[in-house]
């Protein structure tokens, strides 16, 4: 058995919840060789023994290691109920390789680190762990997934754990938070149980789009589906959810497949239907009452009543539309969408439309949008008309379309050839697309030589996405005068926008340095973030934008920024915990107060060491 060092206790960035009187103790015993790490040395050359821990013990209850002992570190701790502090048995604890840090020895462990199963005292231990960066994750049937460092009951990000050969990290407290339970009954309009009807509970997410982990599944700001329980023969349902704020609904729309019971008022012509209903019984989600639940909370009597409404027909004629047009009815604030049929002469019809308020959307194309290349069939005409559909329906509508706008400009580059420039890709994306360019479809641009044109843009708020034609490349920039069209949303009205200047270059910016903790030691956990110095750019920063970056600190205490657009930046080291709210304006405001200011010139590089501030006592 390898000799464990008796090094001094170091600070540690990850803390468990306040579940015990004196708080958890996390000890790090680091052997001297580890402290000799220095910036610029590669991982393998930094004094770390390259232990290929192929032994990879196999574990079963009671938290034992059965494999042959080889050199390596030890990570141990206890899994507890995050609310009560009670040790939890029957928890599968996994030592996961921290995907954000490159760790050759970790990968060399055959198939990855082992699992353990806790017993009554909730304790676990991983022996012979190869030096590297890890996360401790825990799962138990009936609990949402948990991990060391995830303190918030509603989510969070697992803390990274760096370990060297013969290190012993003990006393980790890994909390699992009981799910909240929402349950109730669904009845139809006659009060009879509604059977096999599925509900949707959407959880409000903080919008940490770049943190796409098990702990904060959905990146987008807004409401994301959490669970879809269905009713039994008594009309009862039970939903198990994480703590948080929820919208409950019974959806009958194109977004969710759902069983549509037969309404009581339905006759042979199927002239009644159930419609999407939000808790506590409204059709519009804006009027819904959010349901807020804490970890382990039991929320009964969240009852629903199906709402049946008559259906009717909607018809009319499109004026000045092209031969290829689409019509659809939508309900603002819902996922409801019903496509109509357009016949020769522009006559359109919708059948079986539930009575209610709609927006009739019309789009006219030059070619059929589903036959030709996406992005090459711009919307030439459009309209959005609010209509009210009563029991007798709506007929003889006369809908005129309006022309769309075109955004155009030039593409320039200090170093790319005209041929390369012509392969630049540009897309106009809605500012409401919270993932920015990440999920943008192929742009509706038309790049010819050094000029581009994006026709078919309806009035609204947009951003431009620019994909340079080479790799590596500096993030593409687009400005109209002094306005940054890539990172700051801009309005499009009825007029065309011209004179946009797009700049692409293969000369990338670079930035990096060493991260130290408040004691001056190399930090091995946490993040380094860069964001614009101008607070005006902090409003609704786009994921995937070119002026925000967050990188994890490498195992050897270094960081390396991705290519950024040129400009002035704030640079700071932040803890895992602080990153839970990245990149919100409150967080940026706090961090800016302690951040370093740096200037990145086109194609330039900076080397800047940063310091992780001391953890505030909790």
């Amino acid at each position: 058995m390898g000799q464990r060092s008796k090094g001094s206790v170091q600070g540690f960035v990850g803390f468990g919840p306040k579940v015990q009187g004196s708080g958890p103790k996390v000890l790090r015993k680091v052997r001297p060789a580890l402290r000799s790490n220095h910036m610029g040395a590669g991982y393998a050359g930094a004094g770390w023994p390259m232990v290929l821990a192929l032994s990879a013990s196999v574990f079963v209850a009671p938290a034992i290691s059965a494999g042959p002992f080889r050199s390596g570190g030890r990570i141990a701790g206890t899994v507890v109920d995050g609310t009560t502090g009670r040790p939890l048995a029957g928890v599968i604890v996994k030592l996961a390789i921290d995907q954000d840090k490159w760790c050759e020895p970790c990968l060399a462990m055959a198939g990855g680190p082992p699992n353990v199963l806790t017993v009554a005292d909730g304790k676990f231990a991983f022996e012979n762990v190869a030096p590297g960066a890890y996360q401790v994750k825990a799962s138990k049937a009936g609990y949402p997934a948990g991990a060391f460092g995830v303190r918030r009951t509603a989510g969070g990000y697992p803390a990274g754990i760096g370990i060297g050969d013969n290190d012993a990290i003990e006393g980790l407290i890994v909390p699992l938070y009981r799910p909240a339970i929402i349950h109730g009954t669904v009845v139809d309009e006659l009060g009879a149980p509604a059977v096999n009807v599925c509900l949707t509970f959407e959880r409000q997410t903080p919008g940490t789009s770049w943190l796409n982990s098990d702990y904060e599944d959905y990146a987008e700001r807004g409401w994301e589906p959490e669970t879809r329980p269905c009713t039994d023969d008594r009309g009862q349902y039970v939903a198990m959810v994480r703590a948080g704020e929820y919208l409950g609904s019974i959806a009958f729309d194109s977004r969710y497949e759902n069983y549509q019971p037969v309404p009581a008022a339905r006759n042979d012509d199927a002239s009644a239907t159930y419609v999407t209903t939000f808790y506590p019984g409204v059709r519009n989600r804006d009027l819904a009452t959010p349901i807020v639940v804490g970890a382990g909370e039991d929320r009964p009597a969240v009852d629903f009543r199906l709402v049946a409404v008559p259906t009717a027909s909607v018809s009319g004629t499109l004026i000045s539309a092209t031969a290829i047009s689409s019509v659809s009815l939508t309900i603002p604030g819902t996922a409801y969408r019903q496509e109509g049929i357009v016949r020769t002469g522009g006559h359109f019809t919708f059948t079986r439309v539930p009575v209610g308020q709609y927006v009739l959307e019309v789009a006219s194309f030059g070619n059929h949008p589903f036959v030709n290349i996406p992005g090459r069939d711009p919307v030439l005409g459009w309209s959005a008309t609010a209509i009210s559909v009563g029991p007798s329906g709506v007929s003889d509508l006369s809908i005129a379309t309006q022309r769309t706008s075109t955004i155009s400009g030039v593409i320039q580059s200090p170093d790319l050839t005209p041929a390369e420039i012509s392969h630049t890709i540009i897309a106009v994306v809605s500012a409401g697309n919270v993932l920015g360019c990440v999920r943008a479809l192929a742009g509706n641009e038309d790049v010819t030589g050094d000029r581009f044109s994006a026709p078919g843009v309806k009035p609204g708020k947009y951003r431009l996405c620019v994909w340079p034609p080479t790799h590596p490349a500096s993030p593409g920039e687009a400005v109209l005068g002094t306005r940054d069209l890539v990172n700051v949303p801009f309005e499009v009205g009825a007029e065309d926008i011209s004179g946009v200047v797009v700049t692409v270059s293969r000369r990338t910016t670079a930035g990096g340095g060493v991260v130290r903790n408040h004691l001056g030691k190399l930090a091995r956990e946490g993040w380094v973030v860069a964001f614009p110095q101008d607070p005006a750019a902090w409003i609704d920063p786009p994921p995937g934008g070119s002026r925000f970056a967050a990188v994890r600190v490498a195992v050897n205490g270094t960081y390396e920024l991705p290519a950024l657009a040129s400009g002035g930046y704030m640079l700071a080291a932040v803890s895992d915990d602080e990153m839970n709210i990245w990149p919100t304006r409150p967080m940026l405001t706090v961090i800016a107060a302690r951040a370093d200011r740096v200037q990145l010139n086109p194609g330039g590089s900076i080397t800047k060491d940063v310091t992780m501030r001391a953890r505030e006592p909790r």
Binding site: L54, A56, V58, V60, M109, D233, P263
Partner: protein
């Protein structure tokens, strides 16, 4: 709704049809009334008219009286399908394990009224506790029903009857067909394959940790016990306590004598036998090895019975080698596979036809009780001689996979060691070479037909009864027997069963049979005393009249278990008498 659709696969009905006065208008009119097992109208049920093969569907829903009218129904025959949550999806006229419902046609100007009985689903509910004595949330709870399928009683997992316990540890099955169910619960803890991935040198013992439990009283699957529910009944409080299982996994290392040089020409496969009546179905069934140091290695094997088969046929080094392996615990089990060591079945194929020519187009098939035949047995035929090689130990029925084009054939005889075995199972043991099997195929025109009409009791419609023909010799009451046949009765009360081997048969009329159970021996035993006897000669068409000889109310409960019959539709058997 997925669950509902899945139910539709195994639906059955009891129904009454009244053909009323013909109306002289274009298109026919159809009135469908849906009632539950008590005869209570079912409002707001969806009724579909499906034109087979599902070319089109018309859908309407029933009113408060459980009734719906279809006007102008085309004369194309269609099936009537009825659905409503909490009820059993029903296809009109699908009885006693038949694979389709009754086709209904309404002639122009005709008006028909159909009453479809759609039973309310039964409920089984309870609680699951984990190994730590706590209510088990998110446990996987499975309900499987004893079901007769052509004479074979198995624990059927048809129906998608798997639910998760809720955060309080509660589970609830509804929309259950009447019958006897076995309920089990499991919670997986550590997966074996995760252990396998992390195993670098194979030296560590792998384990599989999970929790498993079954409802009280289920100690032996062969007892075929469980919770019995009738239509619409509720059985709550079926609680399950799970226990943690730590099972060590074994490894099989197979060495192959004279392996193929060409990897493409070889295959090695390991198949796990599954107990068709077993309550724990957590095992993978088929595995492929990794090659390590010239050996073929199968890891992470739970205790059980396995069959390994190596196919040499692709590289010309002989026939298959195989081995039967019993694994009881951890460790490495070495096996050796050598050419020509596998079990085989060989013999001669005789064609009884005017041409008398054996063509290679005839292919035979081995249908194993454990359905392992696709794991290895390969069929060859040349000059009338055939053989199956790589046959896994099992009980088999020899069948005809492909017949001579343009002609319909059947297997008339399978003689093994001088004894006729066509209506029994052929038992193949490990390494056994069964030779000189004589399989005779004959023109279907040699098969007999039993036809006729029935006399139904007053108030009983043709749609609520079937005719069952079965051999008088009980030795032929075997699973999948070609001599036991069930058929629907036409509206004019006629029936026809073609393709019966010659012999002495019994024929019986069964009224209101269990809705979705196939025949089993218990049913035949109950029918036997009152059934009529008829002798069928080769190629003979025999017409009989089945009429009521005595009235008897008998329970047609499946054997075993014994689901309670629907309250409003006690099954009856009517005696039959050949005309």
């Amino acid at each position: 709704m997925t669950r509902l659709r899945y139910w539709a696969i195994i639906v059955a009905v009891t129904a009454v049809v009244h053909v009323q006065a013909v109306r002289d208008t274009g298109g026919g009119d159809l009135c469908v009334t849906v009632v539950d097992q008590d005869g209570t109208p079912v409002p707001r049920a969806r009724v579909y008219l499906d034109v087979r093969p599902y070319a089109s569907t018309v859908e309407k829903s029933t009113d408060d009286d459980g009734r719906v009218d279809f006007a102008g129904v085309p004369s194309t025959p269609f099936e009537i399908r009825v659905e409503k949550p909490a009820y059993i999806d029903t296809v009109y006229g699908r009885l006693l394990g038949l694979d389709r419902g009754r086709l209904v046609a309404v002639a122009a100007g005709q008006r028909r009224a159909v009453v479809v009985t759609m039973p309310r689903g039964a409920v089984i509910a309870g609680m699951v506790m984990n190994a730590d004595g706590e209510p088990a949330a998110a446990a996987t709870v499975t309900a499987r029903r004893w079901r007769s399928e052509e004479g074979r009683t198995v624990l059927s997992d048809l129906g998608g009857l798997t639910v998760q316990s809720d955060p309080f540890g509660r589970y609830r099955f509804f929309e259950l067909r009447s019958g006897t169910y076995v309920v089990t619960a499991s919670a997986e803890a550590l997966w074996a394959d995760e252990g396998a991935r992390r195993l670098g040198d194979g030296s560590a013992a792998l384990v599989r940790v999970d929790e498993f439990g079954s409802m009280p009283g289920v100690v032996d699957a062969n007892q075929r016990n469980g919770v019995t529910v009738g239509a619409g009944e509720r059985h709550e409080g079926v609680n399950i306590v799970m226990k943690r299982r730590v099972r060590q996994m074994a490894t099989i290392e197979a060495s192959v004598d004279q392996p193929c040089d060409d990897e493409v020409g070889q295959s090695l496969m390991l198949v796990q036998y599954r107990d068709p009546a077993g309550v724990d179905e957590s095992s993978d069934r088929r595995m492929w090895p990794t090659q390590e140091n010239g050996r073929f290695v199968f890891r992470n094997l739970l205790p059980g019975r396995y069959f390994a088969s190596y196919d040499y046929s692709g590289c010309g080094k002989g026939r298959s080698g195989d081995a039967l392996v019993e694994i009881q615990g951890a460790g490495v089990v070495p096996i050796s596979l050598t050419p020509n060591s596998s079990a085989s079945v060989s013999g001669k194929l005789v064609v009884e036809s005017p041409q008398g020519v054996v063509t290679p187009r005839i292919r035979l098939d081995l249908d194993g009780e454990h359905s392992l035949n696709d794991a290895g047995p390969s069929f060859r035929i040349q000059d009338g001689a055939f053989d199956f090689i790589g046959v896994a130990p099992d009980r088999y029925v020899i069948g005809l996979l492909e017949s001579i084009a343009g002609t319909s054939w059947h297997i008339r005889s399978v003689v093994v060691d001088g004894a006729e075995t066509i209506d029994g199972a052929l038992e193949v043991r490990a390494g056994q070479q069964i030779r000189d099997v004589i399989v005779t195929v004959a023109d279907n025109r040699r098969l007999a037909t039993l036809a006729g009409d029935v006399e139904l009791p007053v108030g009983v419609s043709a749609a609520s009864a079937v005719v069952v023909a079965f051999p008088s010799d009980r030795r032929y009451w075997t699973p999948g027997s070609r001599r036991v046949r069930v058929t629907l009765i036409d509206d004019d009360k006629s029936f026809k069963i073609a393709g019966l081997p010659e012999g002495k048969y019994l024929a019986a009329l069964v009224i209101n049979p269990p809705v979705d159970q196939g025949w089993d021996v218990a049913l035949l035993e109950r029918l036997e005393p009152g059934a009529g006897v008829v002798e069928l000669g080769p190629g003979q068409i025999t017409t009989v009249r089945l009429e009521r000889r005595r009235s008897a109310t008998q329970s047609l409960r499946a054997n075993p278990p014994t689901p309670r019959p629907p309250r409003a539709s006690s099954p009856q058997t009517d005696a039959s008498r050949p005309r």
